[in-house]
């Protein structure tokens, strides 16, 4: 197990290197002048010399390889540079926003798992009946509707018409409901599909057939044996789904004024605040890598069969 974990960790290193390189390279290809972007309309009144001075101050006039070395050295110290617009450290900006995104992602994940597993089990138990079709159809409809549309529909109904929930912002658990449902529903389909497949497979296995033959009620068979076996593939999928959840969160944060990293990133892109764009992308990617690593390792811990390589 330890060897597997170590190997898996070392395998992540090239990916980490690639990710940092890619994120740094964003600065190479990006058009537009970040200094002008920072000043906005005020750049109109400023002299060319002052612009150059400011560029030097921000280290934007150094050769790119030098900037890269500086960038990596900074990363190792936990320094992601300063936001061009707010002039605060990028890490501080992200740290302020990260909890909101994680909160939304976890809540959405819980909803996605609950909904996905329910639909998947229903579909498997009633395989090739209308229930199967309906369950999968519901999951597919969920994944097909854009979150930036369903979010508004939910807001119109539950916040404006019925007044049950707040329309936007973050604070109480009520604030969390609409955005989490919006994102969660959109991520349930894949989990439903995997659950259905896994439960079907487990149901076909000998020991389940035996249990059936022994006269145990079908429902208990499913719950006891099949679902427990189906848990492993579901856990794997959850790690992968987190990527989709984070993506959905970017859009949903905009709809519900949820103060997360997604909103920060979109604002940074619009303002062409490159250090902030780079930092947000890097941090979320690192988080995603870490979660998948953790899922892999826990998966290996549960099921010794995967420790082949």
């Amino acid at each position: 197990m330890l060897r597997y974990a170590l190997g898996r960790l070392i395998g992540t290193l090239p990916v980490l290197f690639g990710v940092t390189l890619l994120v740094f390279l964003m600065a190479w290809v990006t058009p537009g002048d970040p200094v002008v972007a920072m000043l906005g309309e005020a750049s109109q009144g400023i002299s060319r010399q002052a612009l150059e001075d400011l560029r030097g101050e921000l280290g934007l006039d150094r050769p790119l390889p030098v900037q890269y070395v500086g960038y990596v050295a900074g990363l190792l110290r936990g320094d992601l540079g300063d936001s061009v617009r707010s002039r605060r450290p990028v890490l501080a900006e992200i740290r302020d926003r990260l909890p909101a995104t994680i909160e939304l992602a976890l809540a959405a994940l819980a909803i996605a798992v609950a909904l996905g597993v329910t639909l998947g089990v229903l579909a498997a138990v009633r395989q090739r009946t209308w229930v199967d079709g309906a369950a999968i159809a519901v999951a597919l409809v969920g994944v097909s509707i854009p979150v930036f549309w369903s979010g508004f529909l939910l807001m119109m109904v539950f916040a404006l018409e019925l007044g049950w929930l707040p329309a936007s912002g973050r604070g109480t658990w009520q604030h969390l409901v609409l955005p989490a449902v919006t994102v969660g529903v959109s991520s349930a389909a894949f989990i439903a599909r995997i659950t259905r497949g896994a439960v079907l497979e487990a149901l076909a296995q000998d020991y389940v057939r035996t249990a059936k033959a022994k006269g145990l009620a079908p429902r208990r068979v499913v719950v006891r044996h099949a679902l427990r076996n189906a848990l492993l593939p579901i856990v794997t999928v959850v790690g992968l789904q987190l990527g989709g959840l984070l993506g959905g969160a970017v859009l949903t944060e905009t709809v519900f004024a949820w103060p997360g990293v997604g909103r920060l990133l979109v604002d940074a892109i619009v303002a062409r605040d490159l250090p902030l764009v780079q930092g947000s992308v890097l941090v979320v990617a690192l988080l995603f890598i870490l979660v998948n690593l953790a899922v892999d390792l826990s998966y290996a811990a549960i099921n010794p069969k995967v420790r082949y390589g």
């Binding site: 058009p31 537009g32 002048d33 970040p34 002008v36 972007a37 920072m38 000043l39 906005g40 309309e41 005020a42 750049s43 109109q44 009144g45 400023i46 002052a50 001075d53 400011l54 101050e57 936001s83 617009r85 707010s86 002039r87 605060r88 900006e93 302020d96 926003r97 909101a100 508004f152 807001m155 119109m156 916040a159 404006l160 007044g163 707040p166 329309a167 936007s168 912002g169 973050r170 905009t254 709809v255 519900f256 004024a257 103060p259 997360g260 909103r263 920060l264 604002d267 619009v270 303002a271 062409r272």
Partner: protein
């Protein structure tokens, strides 16, 4: 059961102690709360509650005391201001002449790299005469100086705290900073020691809500008390809602179609006149903007000092426009319109696209982020550009000098209109702090600009807001960034 009562009592006590909270909504997280390090309206909306300027501008456009109580010019290059005494910053440090010198010194210091430095760059020196008197020197004389001192970037900050103001602002204003939950809300509390008396509102919460429609839902459902810059169509709906009070005020803004007179396609005055005749300004103002804008003629709106009322010389006339193009020998004209990301401007651009199509002119719209847009309009191949503009100092010089002085090409003078007589007039307006002279000078510049047509002033948008009727006594002049909550109350 007893626990429930205890909990209730605590809740009740807490809500009583919290007192009146006024919640406003703005569309984006302010980049910083240091007014000297930004030129961003979202920042100013908050910093104007926390910090104060030496003088203020009233809704009538008059300059009145702020942190300075009196002022005079001992000579044309020196402005002497008498400061309000007994004022302290929120951290208890004293506000005095030294604080003013340090604060203005900080924004003028190139090392601060203040985006709004240009507002005050006419200033040569700021010196303390005694604890309650400062002198500001401009050489050559700079007539609009007082208006510039009312600009939000000229707010007096405690320079000793320079490094921390961005995240925890400290000023002399009616509200003191409590906390800033990034991307979510900024919370301010009444400054009990405010020199003008503590405000009636105990707490101001500025919520950050990017979507206008979400802001409206929140306003209607009671999550927010006041919103600003409501788009015209939403405004009309809110106006019909008895549970909401709305207001529309003539602002300092204007929207322009700028034409590069140095471009071979637009050098001929007749072509520019044709474009002007193709635009139905009244239709845009009345239908598109639902009457929440006035059709424009002069380059500055009537709220600005020295603005003149002019007759529209280029009324909507598609026939006439086509004839002018034919007369100029132009056919198959293709033009590119540059603008930056802004939903209102983008909408009007599409209206222009359709209007120009009617006179056989093909318009390509290029929307970019602000920095790319700025580069595009400063390059020589710029053809048309559309921009919103605010005469923030409410003095004609601010806009007319930027738009039409040849020294401002291509930075602010994007039409590249260069006329030595205009340059001379604009300089005279700065040099002579005499009302009658300046009025005459700026009237001439405005009339000349409308004749030579380097830009079409499309309309003057009105500033809109909507609030719950419980909110009373607030003062708003020209723009949401000047929201004054010192006299505001909440009825319920």
């Amino acid at each position: 059961m007893r626990n429930v009562f205890v909990a209730l009592a605590i809740l009740l006590g807490a809500s009583l102690a919290a007192g009146q909270t006024l919640t406003t909504a703005i569309g984006a997280n302010p980049p910083t709360l240091d007014p000297q390090l930004t030129f961003n309206g979202f920042s100013f909306h908050v910093t104007n509650q926390v910090y104060e300027t030496l003088v203020r501008v009233t809704p009538e456009g008059d300059v009145v005391p702020g942190l300075a109580v009196d002022w005079r010019y001992p000579d044309p290059t020196t402005l002497r201001l008498t400061l309000r005494e007994g004022v302290t910053f929120h951290d208890g440090s004293p506000f005095d002449a030294d604080a003013v010198v340090a604060s203005l010194g900080r924004i003028l210091d190139p090392a601060t790299a203040a985006p709004g430095r240009f507002v005050l760059s006419a200033i040569q020196e700021v010196r303390a005469v005694d604890a309650a008197t400062v002198e500001i020197v401009t050489d050559p004389p700079f007539a609009p100086l007082l208006s510039h001192l009312a600009h939000p970037v000229a707010a007096i900050v405690p320079a000793a705290l320079a490094d921390t103001l961005a995240r925890s602002p400290v000023g002399t204003g009616p509200f003191a900073f409590v906390r800033w939950v990034d991307g979510s809300e900024v919370v301010l509390a009444a400054n009990a020691a405010y020199w003008g008396g503590a405000p009636a509102i105990d707490q101001v919460v500025v919520r950050i809500i990017p979507e206008v429609s979400t802001q409206i839902v929140e306003l209607r459902s009671g999550g927010v008390d006041m919103i600003f810059n409501v788009p015209p169509d939403n405004f009309l709906t809110l106006q019909a809602d008895p549970a909401i009070t709305t207001g529309a005020i003539d602002g300092w803004s204007s929207t322009h179609l700028i034409m590069n007179v140095a471009s071979p396609k637009l050098a001929d005055l007749r072509v520019r006149q044709a474009l002007a005749h193709a635009i139905d300004k009244a239709l845009i103002a009345e239908e598109m903007l639902r009457g929440l804008a006035k059709p424009g003629v002069a380059p500055i709106p009537g709220t600005v000092r020295y603005a003149v009322e002019l007759e529209e010389p280029y009324p909507y006339d598609a026939e006439g426009a086509r004839a002018l193009l034919a007369e100029a020998g132009v056919s198959d004209l293709r033009l590119r319109l540059d603008l930056y990301q802004n939903p209102d401007l983008e909408a009007v651009a599409q209206v222009l696209q359709f209007a120009f199509d009617e006179i056989g002119v093909d318009l390509e719209i290029r929307v970019q982020d602000f920095s790319a847009y700025t580069q595009a309009v400063q390059s020589d191949d710029m053809e048309l550009a559309m921009t919103g503009w605010g005469t923030v100092t409410l003095d004609a010089d601010y806009t007319l000098y930027a738009f039409f002085h040849s020294g401002e090409i291509p930075g602010n003078n994007r039409s590249r209109w260069a006329d030595p007589e205009i340059d001379a007039l604009l300089q005279r307006g700065r040099d002579e702090p005499v009302d009658a002279v300046r009025a005459e000078v700026y009237a001439q510049v405005q009339a000349a600009a409308v004749d030579a047509l380097p830009m079409v002033t499309l309309y003057y948008p009105r500033f809109t807001f909507a609030k719950r009727p419980a909110v009373q006594g607030e003062a708003i002049a020209f723009s949401w960034i000047l929201l004054d909550l010192r006299g505001a109350t909440l009825a319920d």
